[in-house]
Symmetry: C2
Subunit: 644 residues, 2 copies
Amino acid sequence: MFLNSADPLYTEPADSRLIRESVEIYRNTKEIDVGSNRLNFDELSTAMDVALGKRPASLVVLNGEIVNVCTGETYAGGVAISGNRISKIGNVKQCVGERTVVVDAEGAYLVPGLIDTHIHIESTMLSMTRFAEAVLPRGTTSVMCDLHEVGLITGLRGIREIVEKGRELPFKEWLTVCFEVPMTPSKLETVGGHFSKAALMKMLTWPEAVGWDELSVPMLMSKSMDIVDKIACARKLGKVTDGPCGIVEDPDRVIPACVCAGVDYSHEGEWTTKGELEMLRNGMRVNFIEGGNVWMQNLKNQAKVITEHRVQARHISFATDDLSAEDIAERGHIDHHVRRAIEEGIDPISAIQMGTLNAAELFRIDHAIGSITPGRYADILFVRRLEEFKVHTTISMGRVVAKNGKMVIGLAKPRYTSVLMETVKLKRKLKPSDFLVRTKKNARTVRIQTLVSNEEVRGFRNGEAVLEVENGTILPSVQNDVVLIAIAERHTASGRISVGFASGLGLKMGAIGTTVAHDHHNLVLIGTNPSDMAFAGNEIARMHGGQIAVADGKVLDSIPLPIVGMMADIDVQTMAAKVKSMKETLRNIGCNLTHPFMHLSFFTGALTGWGWETGRYNITDKGWVDLESQKIIRPIVGVNERTS
Amino acid sequence: MFLNSADPLYTEPADSRLIRESVEIYRNTKEIDVGSNRLNFDELSTAMDVALGKRPASLVVLNGEIVNVCTGETYAGGVAISGNRISKIGNVKQCVGERTVVVDAEGAYLVPGLIDTHIHIESTMLSMTRFAEAVLPRGTTSVMCDLHEVGLITGLRGIREIVEKGRELPFKEWLTVCFEVPMTPSKLETVGGHFSKAALMKMLTWPEAVGWDELSVPMLMSKSMDIVDKIACARKLGKVTDGPCGIVEDPDRVIPACVCAGVDYSHEGEWTTKGELEMLRNGMRVNFIEGGNVWMQNLKNQAKVITEHRVQARHISFATDDLSAEDIAERGHIDHHVRRAIEEGIDPISAIQMGTLNAAELFRIDHAIGSITPGRYADILFVRRLEEFKVHTTISMGRVVAKNGKMVIGLAKPRYTSVLMETVKLKRKLKPSDFLVRTKKNARTVRIQTLVSNEEVRGFRNGEAVLEVENGTILPSVQNDVVLIAIAERHTASGRISVGFASGLGLKMGAIGTTVAHDHHNLVLIGTNPSDMAFAGNEIARMHGGQIAVADGKVLDSIPLPIVGMMADIDVQTMAAKVKSMKETLRNIGCNLTHPFMHLSFFTGALTGWGWETGRYNITDKGWVDLESQKIIRPIVGVNERTS
């Protein structure tokens, strides 16, 4: 009865493959942890020896007041660190050796590194390195991002490259895998990365991946086998699934149905107090969300579940979702959430748990992050007064990285390959004639559908305009605020360009352009005349992507975003200044949008159903499309012909 | 840049295997959950429809007061159930259809089904079915057991069979996989199942498996690659690892070192208040342990971390480890822990969370059990007064299974195969001559090493006795309390029998025998004469295992344990009565041990280092062994020869 490899149970196919693989992976790598920066056997062994007092620590924090999020206590003590991990807490004087770096906390509270459970770092336009540099001084040491915008341009390859390079940072970048990329797949436009179910499931197996994000109610309600398979895959891997976000219609029935489908959490929570309470009562974990200034600010409502309804906070954490470089520069990151929660009347220990342990438990990685306890990454913040919650020192992965709001170590420029750096692929230089909209030779005027900006809701409407025709070319009407809008395909160098008309932007002269445009991220050009549009497009191609304003053949202002055409390796202050300057420039040429390029990034393309207002028609690289019938149509609704 | 199977990232070996397998498993089975009883796609779809009001529930509980362990609230509401899952909570009247079973809770509190996070059900001597029947009326709906005793007799096969049959029950049996089986592997004795590292890792991949258990401090401190691999495998699978239990020497250094090694929880916690606090502060999850009457009772000390040190309870749950049928019959199961915790001054909601949500979160299966929320198994208890915590109705997996302390449904007798039912394999019938201990023909007396009972510590010492020899046969000395002890190998029918001498048991006549003996579980026979020992052994073999007392060729009392020689399919009351009667019988033949067979189960064999007192020498089926040198030796230390 001794078990050996002849035992028939050994040949059961599925399980034995898994076990073989598990054994194999760990035999080869000796890795014992998931996450961006892994612990190998030697590190593990060293960490144990430091705890046992057999070996000195690499860094010791003395004279702190530990905020122990596991027990909810605070008490005097220090932390002994071995490499990037915590070895021991409490009494650690004996861990100091000759070469140990000793940091005196001077009685400050020691708080675990903060966690943002959902962010699209692409919206900051900063490279991962500069993003880390911006938020580390604020106390953030882990973020969950899905990088699906990068994926839409580069495919899996580019995401992997960012993740790999991210490992070199004293910062942890975990992945939540976007459930569908593009979010509303469409044959009506070209994207750079279209992810099969298998590709997404593969991403989910990556050690950095902690779960799915961005499932919508309609997806869940469809009960398609694709969805069942994907959620089942997460269960199998011990990972979690994000579900309905924001205001849910008929929450009393829809929330439990989504939870039945396998949803574990909501990255935005429900924005109303009542809805948030409903999610928590239904066993979902939720986030208090405080996005950038022009995004969602829901913490005030959501906090009432604690301050008024008195629910326990253990299933609540924090997220930003989208925010700009200006937001980070002005108010901070998750430290801002902690302060806001305290302002709303939540006790500081609970607020800190939301920013740390609760987030780690949500993703089932509390063995790696979320508390100042042995074996976890050594991410420790010094805070003098909990109520004020101002981070004055950040230790991340065992190193002092920031003091008094500034980095004290430099983070090397990431060296990305052409996969990320050369993503604006045009077939040839753009010419003014590419931006002419033709109609019948004998037309005098045409009535044509237009795209009308509606910045209030970050969306658009449709309208109609009557435009003059000259020799078969439809002319924009700057005085009536009807300008040209074009999409130049930039992923496959197909040479495809489509042109239409937009209004509500206020542009009085020149042209503007951007390569940030959800979900297609083709080159979007808006202009008062074809020459400036061609010039703007060629300039953007030369910069390998970015945002630009031109007039009369001159660049008025530009923000080069050479990383996938969406991000740049420049520091947060510079980026914030550039964005501010660009707004000013746009105002000077008549564009009075409050956040022009951010608005434009949701203005074009076939993406629908994500919560902002959309009209029926929009422009993609393939033409003027009817989003309802999913067909390419002609925008001209009437032609007034010359009677010659 | 479109991703397809030609993408080089697809050929990365390890990940792609895993993803292929994940896809495959779920494509074939449509299963969406881990655990003993899985949810298939149709069930999922139905559960969603019930929540949405598109289909009536199978069972609805009305008029309850929901104890929502996720938010810490209690509020009026009901529960709608679809099959074995919860579909909706709160307002559920609209879920009642024509064929819906409606249960009126009459205002009772609705509490989630209770969870025992660590139990060896073998110690109850009840089959899984009768165990479930015993604890369901007490409110337990999930147990984590490792079944390693079964494994020691049958190998992986028998464990799998019990798990498979368990799926037919309205009860959830999860597995924690014993880290090493046998616990102290030894060539000095024969066991029925010796588990390779690969076999144990295979078990860990089973959907019912939630983690490793029974790691000891010495194992962890050894830092062997075996240990690293096993812990890494758990991390990879999203499962957890049990670590040091009970009183830890030098806790200030050893606890953090164990946590650095990858330990997540302690199934017994630390038995002292200080040690328990230390574990919690170090980020471990712990159990409050209240074993059977003769096992550990540590809740009183452990509870002080909450009542005196005021730590948050979220990382604390409950376990029994070992308990007898009598314990269950007399005091209950995890319901007893909840009552004890409340008695110690812990608030009822926290106590209930420890018995439910906290346990589920510990094992990262809070999507499946631990709260009355949608998608979870429909395990619901009715309790009139929380402070009293008396379960008067149990709904398990969507069915009312017990009312007023009694089952209201019958659980069919399990039909196990010979793998579990025919495990006492002797080469031939035992004969009295098998139990003769020979020495030199001319010896008059011998001085011989003995095994001395030390019931106080559940262990043994060694002693020496001077015994008379007749025709080369060493005679027991009943008047001096030195009797014969024998181990008959029963796993491989090798015919191996070894015989020695034991004292401290008080036996005055006849013989006793048992097939429960950790970790070898061979046939242990203790007797005043060879004939009764042979008779006792043959009777046990006829019963396919169990416990027996005989005298003068007659059976005085017996407990047949035909399931692996350790368990029987008889109800808890009958089992408790049998154990009581057997104690009485043993007392009548002079054996005054308080818990004779339980004591005997830890009396023989090569198992060492598990916390109870052991001497240097013991008896196994291979002979008299020196546990220190791990060699078989001769127990005779001196011979007094006849001068003829």
